[in-house]
């Protein structure tokens, strides 16, 4: 329950920061100022926008299928928000420690697709329907490379629980499994043990260097999952007005926007947990300079929570920043290019990676 309330508030605050950040970053990339009027440096702009959105009339088009139109944004939002239930924010703080964590996440996010279909269909508008169709085709295709890279990580970690995957990537692994050992690049034959060194050396992308590739595939697929440029043809302004949420206004519209930013954060959190060490610190222990121990608290203690949340959130925000950065630097892909990329390049590459990570696992034991 605490986790629920925390994530709800965190989610809303994050959305404010992210929208403000997006506008500012896009402005700087395009060599302009962005919001400057409201508050110092436009910092209150989002609060003004929020007030405006709440005051807006909730318009339901006459021709819309009302029974589908009304609950659809709620389904989209709920699906995304339910994903946060299993994100291990710190070593001891998460909504639910289900054993099948990552599996649950992949399942629950697919509900979002259905919500988008309902949004598009219920609007009874050709632009909305086109947007929804494109969104769903894209999300369903990119779920495959995404799922396969997740399988790579699961094969190496031998667990589906996100918390356990995180523990494996830091100096605290021995607190839950006393016999566990990490080796440099995961190769036992090298004989360099890194369990106590921790830091970036035990993150999955360093523990298994193959995962650098897997991480890139995951990141590209996650961009497509969250309908971000270069995969934003579902909401291409120049072709489809506003995409699948063209007909929405007021609070329902803001729910859809919230979910868009929510899934950006969710996939960033997931990328952090799977590849970038979760709540573990990036600094390794070097001899007596115990950077890793200094910058992370013992799991379960107050400092453990603080450091854990700090690293987790700052890593995720960095990824969100990169997503925004990419959005304002790259043009969008055409539909056929999009499908080519997923089916001809990412999926085969991900399948090969699954095979290779199975082989790498043999080196680790």
């Amino acid at each position: 329950m605490i986790a629920f309330l925390f994530f709800l508030v965190f989610f809303l605050v994050y959305a404010l920061i992210a929208v403000y950040g997006e506008r500012k970053i896009s402005a700087f990339i395009q060599d302009r100022y962005g919001p400057m009027e409201v508050g110092y440096y436009g910092i209150l702009q989002m609060i003004a926008d929020l007030l405006k959105i709440i005051q807006k009339e909730d318009i339901i088009p006459f021709a819309a299928d009302k029974r589908i139109f009304k609950p659809a944004p709620i389904i989209v939002f709920t699906a995304i928000f339910a994903g946060f239930a299993i994100i291990p924010l710190t070593s001891d703080f998460m909504g639910s420690e289900v054993e099948a964590g990552i599996f649950y996440l992949l399942a629950i996010v697919s509900l979002d697709v259905l919500g988008i279909l309902m949004v598009g269909w219920g609007s009874n508008n050709k632009y909305a329907l086109f947007g929804a169709m494109r969104a769903v085709a894209q999300i369903v295709s990119y779920e495959i490379p995404l799922g396969l890279t997740v399988v790579c990580v699961v094969m190496i970690s031998q667990t589906l629980s996100l918390q356990e995957i995180t523990y494996q990537q830091g100096i605290w692994w021995n607190t839950i499994d006393p016999d566990a050992q990490n080796y440099l690049f995961g190769i036992k034959a090298l004989g360099i043990e890194t369990t106590a060194i921790g830091g970036i050396l035990t993150w999955n992308i360093f523990r298994v260097p193959l995962f650098l590739l897997a991480f890139v595939i995951f990141f590209i697929a996650s961009l497509a999952e969250s309908n971000r440029t270069p995969f934003d043809i579902p909401i291409a302004e120049s072709e489809l007005v506003g995409g699948f949420h063209t007909e929405y206004s007021g609070f329902r519209w803001s729910l859809i926007m919230l979910s868009e930013y929510g899934i950006m954060l969710l996939v960033s959190f997931l990328a952090v947990v799977l590849f970038l060490g979760g709540w573990n610190t990036p600094f390794p222990n070097i001899g007596s300079v115990e950077l890793a121990t200094w910058t992370s608290g013992t799991p379960g203690t107050f400092t453990g929570h603080l450091w854990g949340a700090f690293w987790m959130i700052s890593k995720a925000f960095t990824l969100v920043f990169i997503q925004i950065w990419i959005r304002w630097t790259f043009p969008r892909l055409r539909l056929d290019q999009l499908m080519n990329l997923s089916w001809k390049y990412l999926t085969p590459a991900a399948i090969i990676l699954v095979l290779l990570s199975a082989l790498w696992r043999m080196l680790m034991i």
Partner: protein, 164 residues
């Protein structure tokens, strides 16, 4: 359970095929909830992943692609009422008899599993050792289905393509 049964009945009586599909989602989700209450997390999640995330989306997609996006709605009317009732009634009686006659508690695997805690690791191990042949056969079958689907779809596309 009420939700599951209610939405299933709604599917039967509604004429709007899209509403039926969406009610099917409610049915699947409430079934998943029942699984969770029975302690079968993994089955529940698989239920959502496969049925809601896969089959249902395909279904809705199919409806949307074939539907006329005009003023006319696609309706699923009821035909052959007598025959339908007979067939489903017979099936129900057979299943009901079978389930009441079978003594599940006396089965070997059921007796053993009562003492076991549900664990995904064990489930995976058993799947890859005791039931590996079934697992592989299913995999092969799915691969065949996939190749078949690609073959059919690929051929249809060539005909529609006007000289590129």
């Amino acid at each position: 359970m009420v939700l599951a049964a209610g939405s299933a009945v709604f599917i039967m009586f509604t004429k709007n095929i899209l509403y039926a599909a969406l009610a099917l989602m409610v049915t699947f989700l409430s079934l998943a909830v029942i699984f969770i209450f029975l302690g079968a997390e993994f089955v529940a999640i698989t239920q959502i992943l496969v049925y809601v995330g896969g089959i249902l989306i395909l279904l809705v997609f199919g409806i949307m692609l074939t539907n006329k996006t005009g003023s006319t709605q696609v309706l699923s009317l009821t035909y052959n009422k007598v025959l339908g009732f007979l067939a489903s009634g017979a099936l129900f009686i057979i299943l009901f008899k079978g389930i009441t006659l079978a003594n599940f508690a006396a089965l070997d695997w059921n007796k053993e599993s009562e003492s076991l805690e549900p664990s995904i690791a064990k489930f995976g191990q058993i799947l890859m050792t005791d039931y590996v042949i079934a697992f592989e056969i299913i995999g092969l079958l799915l691969l065949l289905a996939l190749i078949g689907a690609v073959r059919i779809a690929g051929k249809a596309r060539k005909e529609a393509d006007h000289g590129t």
